[in-house]
Symmetry: C2
Subunit: 495 residues, 2 copies
């Protein structure tokens, strides 16, 4: 959220940022080292842990246990003993190095905790505690400035307040008991804790789990741009995802994005696009209103893929992981219902893609297999009965690989069509579908062009999810609607 | 699909159609009677039935059996005896009245079947057979005209060819073995058999099943407008859904739509919106290209709700059944994650809705319940912990009913938030969620304004589907994304 007193982003800032300051090697290295060590603390304390029902400290403690955090884990509670975890009254009472603390005490108690942390030599404090500048009151803003000053002076780095902090399974870091333990090579910075955890869970469910994730909240010390600069150089990170609503330092953020965008793919999701959405994001200041164009210019300069919602964000992450960038805008659309083909063609055209006629060689080669009544080798291609062809499917799809008009393949599936044989054929529709899906994967691999599936959400959801998993496990991305597939493909093509 | 020789729709046609011809009582009554009796045949024959694997006649025969068709059901096969059903060699061999036949023979054999049907005194033939005008060849077009002439002269009505025909469970009619047996009061005309069956299955899955459905194909005799006129007067039909790609008779179709739209809600889904989509819909003629505006004008004149895809179509049907029309554009957005609220506000604004501040009385009344740290009674409203409040929820939501700024309520849910207690609380998250959902339903009913849910598709899909069913069973519509909810609400508001 944007803070009082900050300036709105301007187009001139974006232009100035184009001359990205090239930091010296030493500076880059120092920044990298400082942030890198935050991800591998030797011991962690949860400050404000109690045995009371609903205590948020418990949530963090169980999250760390569930992720198998290897080092000592301690609760801090000045007033009561804690049964669920070894605990101390003050941070200073813990023996041995204490690198990371998670702070859940009320805002009024935070200043003392920060002083204790400095005294103890803690490296980093992630502050879950809320009630600071995000409430738009002068008192909260001043308290936030005060703790930032104490930390800066004492060499303590702060994340938040009003945040969830760090998640990284290989080092046992997380912020909720039910977070995925799988991890990948996509890092994320998120202004909102909720968006971080939704993206984490969604991506894990889709089999493209995130890696290092930071929910950074109010940015009283460490900022989005600090983490973006770090992720740009991090060897564990292949791409960077950002959820952002506003910033305190537009030029610095944009510089960091542009510099990172030169090194790694950047995927951005912006909350507060409309003026009323901006009000929702930061109801205490109208400073960001009307700056949609500025943000768009910044994202464009950074070469970022832009997602308009959490669903789109996860779609784009899946597409980035599983789909190569098409060498043009020509789509081959394969369907087993003419009607779906018509719709898909409309939606593709509306998103800037072409559904061109196949080259004569392709049509001729495919016609050997697709010559059943009611089908013809046009694009979109109504596969009809050919999808059930009980032989090797590789030669059906392979010709698409040679077609100069085709740059990517979109396959449309729906249970009501692929289960056509159900109820009046001797075959079991489920095992038959699994067989022809495998054949289709083989054929699409033989074609060798970027390929995505749309599996409509119609009936038999549990069965559908099984097929969807099969498709994802085979390395192809799959979406519930053509519109979402097109938006993801557009982002991958940076259209 | 559009046929050769037909004229493209023009704006002038739409304007002329505004002066809807009011047919005389007698004419209306004759038309109604003629079409009404098609839905209650006494006996049905499947022509072209055989015991061979994959024979499409079997599909229709099993479909009728599965729907419990009450009258005699007979197979017709001139060359072989059929084991699966009582069969005859020719239609004339069947004793007793035969009202309806389903034709699955190849196109070259159809003329003889039509002559036999006339001789037998059959009322209606639904022709699954394809290979006529839809293939764009002169030969097929002439054959289609010929059978139409034979039927017209002999008093036989034709549906198709290239169609699935009729579906209506109360009379045992259907066209696939796995069609729903539940039915409702939404009728549908569909140019595409695939779109008819997808809509049928989707709507049944969502608990808003269709009633009378006709897949009409090439319209060589009975047309979309014939069925629309019939449904407008049908006492079993409350609303009419159309899937359409093109027409042979624009003025007549538009007249029928406008007249029907005055009597009942009309929901339209058009395939072939873009020029390339139109080519996909009717690759043999470009006549419809560029007429998007004409179709839009026609839909507007008919007061139709327009859906851009099959998913949207089903969304609109669900919204029409479960959501009253809001008296304005002000939405109350209730969420348990601030980030989701920001997005929802953006999407609502982008679709022409407002997310206004609550009236002071509403804010004050709700503040009694929502006074936990991190929440405030703003719109969008971050319910945070209030959603888990362990008391009567009716008074929380009831104040929305009195707020003059609020015309509809949108509730945003997601498993990762409502299962927050999982793993560190003593409560079972599933039974607790069911309890607070029931409380929420009670509260929304107390508010008494149109209310819809968005339940994001994130994790634990099977569990999500259970909650979604609970919401639908309670009479509230539910959508997977804010965007789809907004599009459906827009259609209901005819925006």
């Amino acid at each position: 959220m944007m803070q009082k007193g900050e300036e709105p982003l301007s187009i001139r800032q974006v232009e100035r940022s184009l001359a990205v300051r090239e930091a010296g090697d030493k500076e880059v290295s120092d920044h990298f080292q400082a942030l890198d060590r935050l991800w591998r603390p030797r011991a962690i304390a949860v400050v404000g842990l109690s045995d009371k029902l609903g205590n948020m400290g418990q949530m963090f403690a169980i999250a760390l246990k569930n992720q198998g955090f290897k080092g000592p884990l301690v609760g801090v509670n000045p007033g009561a003993e804690v049964k669920s975890l070894p605990s101390v009254r003050r941070l200073q009472d813990f023996e041995g190095p204490l690198d990371h603390i998670i702070i859940c005490v009320p805002a009024r108690e935070i200043e003392g905790v920060i002083r204790d942390a400095v005294e103890k030599g803690v490296r980093c404090a992630a502050m879950f505690t809320s009630g600071f500048s995000e409430e738009g009151r002068e008192e909260g803003r001043r308290l936030e400035e005060r703790i930032a000053a104490i930390a800066r002076e004492g060499g303590l780095r702060l994340i938040g307040p009003n945040c969830m902090g760090l998640h990284y399974p290989p080092r046992g870091l997380s912020f909720r008991p039910d977070m995925p333990t799988a991890w990948g090579r996509t890092a994320m910075t998120s202004q909102s804790g909720g968006m971080a955890l939704s993206t984490l869970m969604n991506c894990a469910e889709r089999g493209v789990p995130l890696g290092k994730v930071v929910s950074y909240g109010n940015e009283c010390d460490l900022t989005a741009q600090d983490f973006i600069r770090y992720f740009a150089d991090d060897p564990d990170t292949d791409r960077i995802v950002m959820y952002i609503e506003g910033t305190k330092n537009g030029p610095e953020l944009i510089q960091a994005m542009i510099a990172a965008g030169r090194k790694k793919p950047l995927i951005v999701c912006k909350g507060g696009r409309t003026s009323v959405g901006t009000r929702a994001a930061a109801s205490h200041t109208g400073a960001l209103a009307g700056s949609r164009e500025v943000w768009q210019a910044a994202f464009r300069q950074a070469g970022a893929r832009v997602a308009a919602s959490i669903d789109e964000l996860v779609d784009v992450i899946e597409a980035e992981e599983r789909l190569g960038k098409p060498q043009g805008r020509g789509l081959a659309v394969l369907t087993i219902s003419g009607g779906f083909g018509v719709f898909a063609t409309d939606v593709a055209a509306e998103h800037g893609f072409a559904v061109p006629q196949f080259a004569p060689d392709t049509a001729a080669a495919m016609a050997k297999f697709i010559n059943f009544p009611g089908t013809s080798v046009k694009n979109p291609l109504d596969m009809a009965a050919a999808i059930f062809f009980q032989g090797d499917h590789a030669p059906i799809y392979a010709p698409l690989g040679q077609d100069p008009n085709v740059h990517a393949v979109l396959v449309l599936l729906s249970i009501e069509y692929i289960h056509l044989i159900e109820g009046f054929g001797p075959l079991d529709p489920v095992s038959f579908t699994k067989w022809f899906l495998e054949q289709m994967f083989k054929g699409l691999r033989a074609a060798g062009k970027p390929a995505a599936f749309v599996f409509f959400e119609s009936v038999k959801q549990a069965q559908r999810l099984e097929y969807v998993k099969l498709i994802r496990d085979s390395g192809f991305p799959v979406f519930p609607t053509v519109e979402r597939a097109m938006k993801a493909l557009k982002a991958v093509c940076r259209m």
